[in-house]
């Protein structure tokens, strides 16, 4: 209990907030690593997910592959990548992208597939091109599920981005490693609390986005 109080005191101490190693800088680095990883994963997984969801082809293969990627321990992957790429933030970033891809992919194809087949058939009967069907029917109808996938991926990445500090001077993970190795447990717990708070804030934000996106589906249904 005293460790917990010490950790809160540590966070509340203004001296720990400023400078290149301060909480503000570490929070921003952590957020940046998270955003870059999720955006890169989205750039890969969303188009692929849409393709699979729309054509309903190759789903078995991709799901199996994504499942296999999920099973890779991130720290092991990070070590392997760092042995190839050297130390720095690149290896942890790639490992985090690999962590995020399966969730984003699952959200994307499940979202597209969740569009009512009758609505898709109707759109096709109206003479819409396949691209138009994706853009005007399937994406609006599946947006909620798609954003849900992003939300799950972001939560995983923000919590795991502490590993960026394994090979670089980046992010809130530094507090965990310093605290662990120097037996400064209040500092370590403070780092963990900050990660948890950041994760909760991002999750709230994306939950709101998910709600809005789901409502998109209903408003589309309402359009004559």
């Amino acid at each position: 209990m005293t460790t917990f109080l010490d950790a809160l005191t540590w966070i509340a101490d203004p001296a720990n907030w400023g400078g290149a190693q301060g909480i503000s800088a570490r929070l921003l680095q952590h957020l940046a690593v998270t955003l870059v990883a999720v955006l890169a994963a989205s750039a890969l997984a969303i188009p692929l997910g849409i393709l699979i969801g729309h054509t309903r082809r190759g789903r078995g293969v991709v799901v199996a592959l994504a499942g296999a990627v999920r099973a890779i321990p991130t720290l092991g992957l990070l070590t392997l990548l760092a042995l190839l790429l050297g130390v720095g933030v690149e290896a942890p970033l790639l490992a985090l992208v690999a962590l995020a891809v399966p969730s984003v992919l699952a959200g994307a194809y499940a979202g597209i597939e969740s569009a009512e087949p009758a609505a898709v058939d109707a759109a096709r009967a109206m003479g819409m091109s396949e691209l138009q069907i994706v853009r005007n029917v399937e994406l609006p109808l599946g947006a909620g599920v798609l954003v849900g996938g992003l939300r799950a991926a972001t939560l995983q990445v923000v919590a795991t981005a502490t590993l960026a500090a394994y090979t670089s001077d980046t992010g809130l993970g530094r507090y965990l490693f310093i605290g662990l190795k120097a037996r400064d447990y209040p500092q370590m717990l403070a780092g963990a609390i900050l990660v948890a708070v950041l994760a909760l804030l991002l999750d709230r934000l994306l939950a709101t986005a998910q709600d809005r996106a789901s409502r998109l589906a209903h408003s589309t249904e309402g359009t004559p």
């Binding site: 130390v87 310093i178 190795k181």
Partner: protein, 300 residues
């Protein structure tokens, strides 16, 4: 009572009985100690076990009877056994052992540590000669870098005009053997890059890539030889001197002590690195490595 609960109770009771039973029979107390067999212990650390095995084989070759009690674990567990005379001989490391007996000691350099250690040994225990071989933290650089700037000691880093970055676990940043210690003891300023694998493969990779110029790696780590790295000497004692040193009870007579002293005299830094490398790379058992080494140094 449900059947599963009964089963659970049986399991718990059996486990408790086993724990009690294992507490009752201390493998080191009494038995086997009645003759004049020399009881040799070792830490639960492969390098330490090889050295203990070397002691054992050297003593056997000289006609002594030996009882091996290897892989005991941490200092807290085995030092009391040495103090009570249940273990007669144990390969130890000068600095850490001194700090165990005298936590407030200020000795850091090789000879100071050994002198203080001789003072600190309790009644009935003594340290024999210390070896040249060490197993301690050290600053390492690549051989290429060492030759370019003609480096042998940490102090020589003052001549380097390139920027220097030290890569190590993050605790080094605030510890006396990190950038602050380098600055205060040697007047050398370095940047710091955290790499959290304790001088492992990522650190070596960063050294070779030139991402860092300095790393902290154990002097007896086989990766130093394998990757052609150089440990810099540490005249100011930034790192606690940690020489291989045998601790002996009164049961080690002058004859046995002479055998061990011969082994120690042959135990160079190179030797220890080679022993560790054979264990890590060739995965040979301690017995084989010890026998090969004893044959190669040819003690008389």
């Amino acid at each position: 009572m449900t059947p599963s609960r009964t089963a659970l109770r049986v399991v718990v009771a059996t486990a408790a009985a086993l724990v009690l039973a294992s507490c009752g029979s201390d493998p080191l107390s009494g038995d086997g100690d009645d003759g004049d067999a020399i009881v040799i212990g070792s830490q639960d650390y492969y390098s330490n076990e090889i050295v203990a095995e070397i002691y054992a084989q050297a003593l056997e070759a000289d006609g002594h009877e030996v009882d091996r009690q290897f892989r005991i674990g941490q200092r807290e567990a085995y030092v009391p056994e040495i103090e009570s005379g249940d273990i007669d001989l144990f390969p130890e490391y000068s600095g850490p052992l001194l700090q165990f007996w005298e936590p407030d000691t200020e000795a850091r350099l090789t000879d100071d540590v050994y002198a203080a250690l001789e003072e600190a040994t309790p009644e009935g225990v003594r340290v024999l000669d210390q070896a040249e071989a060490t197993d301690q933290d050290s600053y390492v650089v690549t051989r290429e870098f060492a030759e370019k700037w003609d480096l042998t000691t940490i102090a020589d880093l003052a001549e380097v005009t390139d920027d220097l970055t030290l890569g190590a676990n993050s605790e080094a940043e605030s510890r006396p053997n990190g950038p602050q210690g380098l600055e205060s003891a040697y007047g050398i300023s370095v940047d710091f890059a955290p790499i959290e694998d304790g001088g492992g493969p990522l650190t070596v990779k960063a050294l070779k890539d030139g991402d860092i110029q300095l790393a902290i790696i154990y002097t007896a780590d086989p990766s130093i030889r394998k990757n052609d790295l150089v440990s810099l000497e540490d005249p100011e004692g930034l790192f606690l001197a940690s020489h291989l040193v045998p601790v002996a009870s009164e049961n080690i007579d002058d004859d046995a002590a002479a055998v061990i002293d011969e082994v120690t005299a042959a135990m160079t830094a190179e030797s220890l690195l080679e022993l560790n490398q054979r264990s890590v790379d060739e995965e040979l058992p301690a017995k084989t490595i010890a026998a090969d080494w004893l044959a190669s140094v040819d003690l008389d």
